[in-house]
């Protein structure tokens, strides 16, 4: 049993970040851990940014992850990964979807759009465990383009199998997605879990 495991998940409203959190947190409850999920979900349906902090372990108390305290950062949108940079440290594992939904502010010309390689460079200076994944592409292959979140969850599970037993996480996926899409979601999870072609950092 571990004392503390901290996961930061971020992205854009509508990408299924809260579902990702609920599945991971429910699995942790099954494993007998104390669990806290802190969410910033105001106006998430309105295309705003969403950040979710999932913490589990025997010593977890508060809903927020301290600066530099993330064991894992998962970003469903590579631009959004920059907004949670402060939670990463040299021990962190970073998992980034290789796609972005450009914010309207960037389309209108308020800000320069950083590229995926900019983001990889930023994280590469802190940790050498940066994984870039075409999770959108795998979700389409699973027959459910909205299952990017589940693909990334499968990949997270692959990297941390000792903490998160794959069979428990897979069952929890099935319990937490609409019943008519269970097959596609499990396929998405397995595609993420079995991924062996990804860009590793720089």
């Amino acid at each position: 049993m571990i004392n503390e495991f901290n996961v930061v998940v971020c992205g854009v409203g509508g990408q299924g970040i809260l579902t990702f959190s609920r599945i991971l947190a429910s699995a942790a409850v099954k494993l007998g851990y104390n669990v806290r999920v802190g969410e910033t979900l105001g106006m998430s349906q309105r295309g705003g940014m969403v950040q979710s902090f999932i913490r589990f372990g025997l010593g977890v108390l508060s809903p927020l992850i301290p600066v530099g305290g993330a064991d894992v950062v998962v970003s469903l949108d590579y631009i959004e990964a920059l907004r949670v940079f402060k939670y990463a440290s040299r021990d962190s594992t970073i998992i980034i979807n290789s796609n972005t939904i450009p914010p309207i502010s960037a389309l209108i010309g308020d800000g320069r759009m950083p590229s995926l390689s900019d983001v990889v460079k930023v994280y590469g200076e802190v940790t050498n465990k940066v994984y870039i994944l075409d999770a959108d592409g795998l979700a389409i292959r699973a027959g459910l383009p909205t299952a990017t979140n589940i693909v990334l969850l499968g990949f997270l599970c692959k990297l941390f199998q000792e903490i998160l037993p794959p069979n428990i996480l897979r069952d929890t996926v099935a319990e937490n997605v609409p019943s008519r899409y269970v097959r596609e979601n499990i396929l998405a999870f397995d595609l993420g879990f079995n991924v062996n072609k990804f860009d590793l950092g720089l």
Binding site: V35, V37, G38, S44, G47, P66, I104, D118
Partner: protein, 617 residues
């Protein structure tokens, strides 16, 4: 099975608000009322899933004042009741709150008020604990979802023992945190309402009675600490003579900070009964400590009272907190802020790493009106109508109100000038007009907000024959907070049928004789009607912009059009993005606009394109 009905003794993942809902069920609640408001809404949303099964009344009311009075009446008649609201909601209910304290209750009553340090989604960082002093009522505050559930159960018991409503104050980090929660026993009370006539208690018209009830209230409150002592509202850990007094979610930051600092000898008093503070616990703690740090979010509410009480107790303790600037009065806390304060006061070295600056900044991503949102069209048409009539957009005030449409403040529309409080759009338009403003003024207000607090202002506007335009943005729901029904809806909270109150009949009934209903998906007609309204020189002109919320129509499976860009015609002028700003439209510098899968097919962008390059099928 719904986790709200989970088996006693099981441990389930619950959001704080679901835990509060479960606590209400374990406390034998029979009547739950409220008005939606982040971060409080999920209490009623989750209870309404199981209310019919349990035979309890769970309902969204027109506003917090009415919700409060209805719950208060149920508790006067012996039922256990709960009323839920966000922080500004208790301002709306405050008139009823203060009188309710003089009458007291027979059945237990919990008043849930959810504050929002941050703020994340609220217009002010209001500290609602002051309402406990103002009304002279007990106030309890949990630190975790588990405690939120437990405190509802204890709160019902305490409320009945002391005959007073109990305020349960929470903050976003408790309401919206999910946690493993150990469930207790369900309690079904099936009490029948019995309202005993007792004028000195319930009639506030006799000043003599009011004086007597004030004495009664103070006497009840003096009994609260001893009655409450059988429930573990307060947590006291006596160790060394350095101590921390804390409450709410800050308690969890304190515990984690002490662990990170290796400061195991620190004594802690976590105050859960915030009003009245238990003098027994406090004197025991202060006699033990020579140096104390207060860790509480927002105002120094506990700090100020404890500093005053320690003077009365004649104790010489060194205090630190907000008065000496160790901790801020603004914003929410986190582990870094709390750890640094503890390190500074007690002479430790903080383990918090400094935050490295980013070499590339992400562009801001503000929430925007959704793809297909009818409000975008209403404001787009309004700004177009203003310009077409030869006015400048910065001389025609557009008063906003509370709801999704306040997002029209974002680029590219930048439409509303104000968003003040529920219903203020109409009263502010009225005020500036009566002040002698000689150009058109417009109030824009949503359907739920109109019912909540807009109608009295509209009555005055008619009464004074004020020459204002009122756009009622009727999307058939309370969209911003998660699509709760309102009096204009044909369903109740649990989905059972209700009688819809017709906005047009209400407006006409008040005496508005110029009322038009338009569909904002029809942009040319909307512009025409708004021009007519802006040119009106006599009295109130109401334009009801009626179209169901795009998220709701998508959920109901309504099919719209297929929208395509004809790149042979597109001249890449970007007008579609720079003037309309639908989030379903992205931009490819080589090709032009790209319609994304989030498009709901309203086809409005086809109207916006000056070259007819967007085609609707």
């Amino acid at each position: 099975m719904d986790p709200l009905l989970g088996e006693s003794g099981s441990r389930v993942l619950m959001m704080g608000n679901e835990a509060i809902a479960r606590g209400a069920i374990e406390g034998g609640v029979q009547f739950v009322s409220g008005y939606p408001g982040t971060p409080s809404s999920e209490v009623i949303m989750s209870l309404s899933r199981v209310s019919s099964k349990l035979g309890i009344l769970v309902e969204w009311f027109v506003n917090e004042k009415v919700a409060f009075e209805a719950a208060f009446s149920a508790s006067s008649a012996g039922l256990r009741s709960m009323v839920t609201m966000k922080a500004p909601g208790i301002n709306v209910a405050s008139d009823a709150l203060l009188s309710a304290a003089y009458a007291g209750v027979n059945g237990g009553m919990i008043i849930l008020v959810a504050d929002d340090p941050g703020p994340h989604t609220t217009q002010t960082e209001q500290d609602s604990r002051f309402y406990a002093l103002l009304s002279n009522l007990p106030l309890i505050e949990p630190s975790t979802p588990q405690e939120a559930k437990d405190m509802v159960v204890w709160g019902f018991e305490l409320s009945e023992e002391v005959n007073l409503p109990v305020i349960l104050r929470t903050t976003t980090r408790v309401n919206h945190t999910s946690s493993d929660v150990l469930l207790g026993d369900l309690k079904i009370l099936n009490r029948k309402p019995v309202f005993k006539k007792d004028p000195p208690r319930y009639v506030r018209a006799s000043m003599r009675w009011n004086l007597d009830r004030h004495v009664w209230l103070n006497k009840c409150m003096s009994q609260v600490p001893s009655l409450a002592s059988k429930y573990p509202f307060d947590i006291m850990l006596l160790k060394g003579d350095y101590g921390i007094i804390t409450s709410g979610v800050s308690y969890t930051y304190v515990l984690e900070s002490l662990r990170r600092l290796g400061f195991e000898l620190c004594s802690i008093l976590r105050i859960g009964l915030v009003n009245p503070i238990s003098m027994d616990n406090l004197s025991k703690f202060l006699s033990h400590c020579r140096k104390v740090l207060f860790v509480e979010e927002l105002e120094p509410f506990i700090e100020e009272r404890v500093r005053a009480l320690s003077t009365i107790m004649n104790l010489d303790v060194e205090f630190h907190g907000k008065f000496d600037g160790i901790l801020p009065r603004e914003g929410e806390f986190n582990i870094e802020i709390v750890e640094n304060a503890i390190a500074q006061v007690f002479g430790f070295k903080s383990s918090t790493p400094s935050i490295k600056s980013l070499s590339v900044e992400p562009p801001p991503r503000s929430p925007v009106m959704c793809a297909g949102c009818p409000h975008r069209n209403s404001y787009y048409a309004l700004l177009k109508a203003i310009r077409d009539l030869g006015f400048k957009v910065d001389e025609i005030p557009v008063f906003g109100d509370i709801g999704c449409y306040a997002l029209s403040l974002q680029k590219p529309l930048e439409a509303i000038w104000t968003e003040h409080c529920m219903g203020a759009s109409i009263s502010m338009a009225l005020g500036i007009k009566l002040s002698g403003y000689d150009k058109p003024v417009i109030a824009t207000i949503g359907d739920s907000t109109l019912f909540h607090a807009g109608l009295p202002a509209l009555v005055d506007a008619v009464h004074f024959n004020a020459n204002i335009v009122v756009m009622i943005l009727d999307n058939a729901t309370t969209a911003m907070t998660g699509h709760q029904p309102h009096p204009g809806s044909s369903v109740r909270a649990d989905g059972s049928p209700a009688r819809a109150v017709d906005i047009v009949s209400v407006v006409k009934g008040i005496g508005v004789d110029k009322v038009e209903v338009i569909d904002p998906y029809d942009i040319p007609k909307t512009i025409d009607v708004l021009k007519r309204a802006l040119l009106n020189r006599d009295g109130v002109y109401v334009v009801v912009c009626r179209r169901t919320c795009a998220i709701l129509s998508r959920r109901m499976g309504e099919k719209f059009h297929v929208v395509k860009v004809n790149y042979d015609v597109c001249r890449k002028c970007k007008v579609c993005i720079s003037t309309y700003g639908c989030p379903a439209m992205s931009w490819d510098p080589a090709r032009g606009p790209v319609i994304q899968s989030s498009c709901n097919g309203c086809g409005s962008c086809a109207y916006v394109c000056p070259f007819k390059a967007i085609e609707v099928y």
